[in-house]
Amino acid sequence: MSLSFLLLAVAALCALSFYFGRQRAVALSGGRHSNLHSLPVHYGAYTAAWCGLPALFLLLIWYMFQGSVIEALIVSDLPQEVIGDSGRLSLALNSISQIAAGGGEHLTVSPEIVDAGRRLANLQTIANAALVVVMLSVALAGLVLSYRRIEADMRARNNVERISRAIMIVCSAIAILSTVGIVFSLMFETLHFFSKINPLDFLFGLEWSPQTAIRADQVASEGAFGMIPLFVGTLLITLIAMCVAVPVGLFSAIYMGEYAAPKFRAVAKPALEILAGVPTVVYGFFAALTVAPFLRDNGAILGLDVSSESALAAGLVMGIMIIPFVSSLSDDVMSQVPKSLRDGSYALGATKSETIRQVIFPAALPGIVGAVLLAVSRAIGETMIVVMAAGLAANMTVNPLQAVTTVTVQIVTLLVGDQEFDSAKTLSAFALGLVLFLVTLGLNVFALKVVQKYREKYD
């Protein structure tokens, strides 16, 4: 029975128990609702909750552990020399799961593996059947128990409301859980990575070339994992993006807020916001197929040697993407400057632009700085534009006409395709991810603090 049928079955049981609970309450009331403590609906909801929630909870726990438990069972039966070698183990597990899925006829593997594959298929069938049985019986048990507890003076509403409040708290806690999940999953693999590579080499190394030898006898570089070149590339592209986004965003915010006629604003503002809604993969395509060739050809006319994966192309397009972000944030900030400051300036005879430049802008500066920092953090974390338009080679250069690579590009190239979670190459992506997370988090926290402080000043 597939998962969706199981869920449907539980949902049906819930509906049924709602009906039963309600019926029982109505029967107990003897036709007068005032004999009941709560409305009949609450009794129904009470039984439905006790029927569905434990079953769903069980399902969640089950799916979290089923995979790893079955794998542990399979692995424990494999020959010792396979378990000892992580490369062989993952290969063996791959063939086993292929055989279990009914394929793998073309594989040339030892009989133990074939047996293990059959066992895996067996175990999966058993696990699925057991899940169905256990889940349905839990749901039924919940139904029966809660049904029998229904009495006329039972505080059903309070019970249901307590349950719903608990659910709400759990839902809010998911925000915490996902942060914790991010930190732990990144930490775990990063520590794994640092057990192979010295953290100092990673943090301060000047060379990045993650290609390591796959076999011991292969002649290949040791693999260098210094992240400085990646950060130089990231910062270069970010800087170019900011050079586009900050002036254009700021000036368009000023024009929209101070000068534009309402009609013009009604058209231009949503048009600008379209820029924010365009998926990044579209910008990436635009950068790689329109902007980069344009820059390369025009550079050639001017006698400049522009790489076809230049930092400039990626940065320019990223800047375009960030314009609406900067403009809407700075618009927010500037509109919060109290009117009295503006009126004071006008009263002294200042023109509009003088007021903006010498009164409003300085007053809003902290907020604008915060907005720019938020934009920087977004640019640093942006992935698709650089994956499609920036290079792969980690050059230590600040020349915008050359190809550079970024942290996000490397994470994508390291993790797309085959992953081996025991090689420094794959693990380094998690270390980069952790650094990226910490940098953007730091920038965000700082920027939000600045903006908040600024808001409090004028509240």
């Binding site: 998962l3 925000a175 996902s178 368009s252 231009a268 365009v278 998926p279 023109t351 992935t383 965000n444």
Partner: protein, 449 residues
């Protein structure tokens, strides 16, 4: 001592100012007129900077739209070549069984090749023949088989049939390959161009609307590749995302807005929501890879995993929008409900939530539109695989529209450029539709209290 000196200086400066103030200002003096002129010029300059900035941004938008549109519109049409195909019974069904199984296994490719050889009888050398077969796409034989299976009476007849052309011929017909450049610099050699010209002269080349682009899955052959597989993958992914993030987001928003006491827990939740909203999307991909694939052993490349990952990403958007919508419901509604004896939960479910629903839905649609356009985290969890089959459920391997765009953009064939642009147009059309719906909802149900 220095204090004293500066005080004296200030005094002197103050005296100059007060002397000046005592003097009436001549507003028409040339100096002031000049000055005012200068200031007004500065004002106009400043204003024009703003206008230029907006124009630059709009110019970028237009360039983007134009470059995509001009590259992509041709993908909605596909070149077809007319050939006289003989449905040779000796090839299709030698024993005249009429059994669909036998017909289905027949060598229809051979029929097409025969038809091409008949059309150009003077082609003899092996390599020329190979080039000749490139006129018609490898997928045309499947069309032919469908045709015969549908109508077995075709066997033994000779018909003129429009067959889908190969991608290089398609490019030539659409003008992307310039036949005037040096032979070595283009994908088609002189002979192929000559065949093309001959076919055109006979009226045997035609562009037809390319329905296959909307109905088929991915393919290595550009002329056979379609977006339906990716669209279905996107649908399942978004379904999972919606099923998780909408209830969780709304419940969290209700709790934080209506029930949460001001304590440490609430504070931590708030900080976390704000931070999650700003975490780079690729980090969510790493989380999905580690937690869903490595720890929970969910299937790779499946929409379920994509949906779970995107749900975490859209959660902050939905929570923030829902909180704003709930906050906008005036307290008098709550007080009235409570005054009539409703419990706090009843107040929320019966009154606050229905009134806040339009705002919540608008936020949810915007969050879903973001999720639809998201690519990076899905690359991490293996949704970049080359998948031909249309996914039949949330557990089948699948890809999504933006990832399909990324994959095609990476393909070397010239014909994939127009496919990519066309897929972008389709994706943007969906996004415009969703955002338009959000705007419509907001306009229709917007209520000023």
């Amino acid at each position: 001592m220095t204090d004293m000196a500066s005080l004296m200086e200030d005094r002197a400066a103050a005296k100059v100012i007060s002397d000046n103030l005592r003097k009436p200002v001549d507003w028409d003096s040339p100096k002031i007129t000049r000055n005012i002129k200068k200031r007004y010029a500065a004002e106009r300059r400043f204003k024009s900077y703003g206008l230029v900035a907006i124009c630059l941004a709009l110019l970028a938008l237009c360039t983007l739209a134009l470059s995509i549109g001009s590259k992509g519109y041709s993908a909605f049409y596909q070149t077809y070549v007319q050939l006289e195909v003989t449905f040779d019974p000796a090839v299709i069904d030698p024993e005249r069984t009429g059994d669909p199984d036998v017909i289905g296994r027949a060598n229809f490719d051979g029929l097409i090749k025969q038809a091409l050889r008949d059309r150009f009888p003077d082609v003899t050398s092996r390599s020329d023949k190979r080039d000749l077969y490139g006129i018609v796409s490898g997928g045309a034989s499947y069309d032919l088989r469908e045709r015969v299976l549908e109508n077995p009476s075709l066997i033994g007849q000779t018909r003129t049939i429009w067959l889908i052309s190969g991608d290089d011929f398609d490019m030539l017909n659409k003008g992307y390959i310039d036949p005037t450049v040096d032979e070595g610099d283009r994908r088609l050699n002189d002979k192929e161009v000559a065949w093309y010209n001959e076919l055109v002269a006979d009226g045997a080349v035609e562009k037809q609307f390319h329905t296959r682009f909307f109905t088929s899955g991915d393919s290595r052959e550009p002329e056979l590749a379609g977006i339906w597989g990716a669209a279905v993958g996107s649908f399942y992914t978004l379904l999972v995302t919606l099923a998780l993030s909408f209830p969780i987001g709304v419940l969290a928003a209700i709790y934080l807005e209506e029930f949460a006491p001001k304590n440490r827990f609430t504070q931590i939740v708030e900080v976390n929501i704000n931070n999650l909203a700003a975490v780079p999307s690729i980090v969510f991909g790493l989380l999905g890879l580690e937690v869903y694939l490595n720890v929970m052993h969910l299937p790779r490349s499946a929409p379920v995993v994509g949906g779970l990952t995107l749900a975490l990403m859209t959660l902050p958007t939905i929570i923030i929008a829902s909180r704003a919508a709930i906050k906008a419901v005036p307290p008098s509604i709550r007080q009235a409900a409570l005054g009539l004896g409703a419990s706090p939960v009843q107040t929320v479910t019966h009154h606050v939530l229905p009134l806040a629903m339009p705002g919540i839905l608008t936020g949810t649609i915007i969050g879903m539109a973001q999720a639809l356009g998201e690519t990076a985290p899905l690359l991490m969890i293996g949704m970049v695989a080359f998948i031909v089959d249309i996914p039949g459920g949330a557990l089948d391997p699948a890809t999504v529209l933006p990832v399909q765009i990324y994959l095609w953009a990476d393909s070397p064939e010239r014909a994939f450029v127009e496919k990519t642009s066309a897929a972008i147009m389709v994706l943007l059309a969906f996004l415009v539709l969703m955002n338009g719906l959000a705007v419509y909802l907001r306009k229709k149900f917007e209520r000023k209290w």
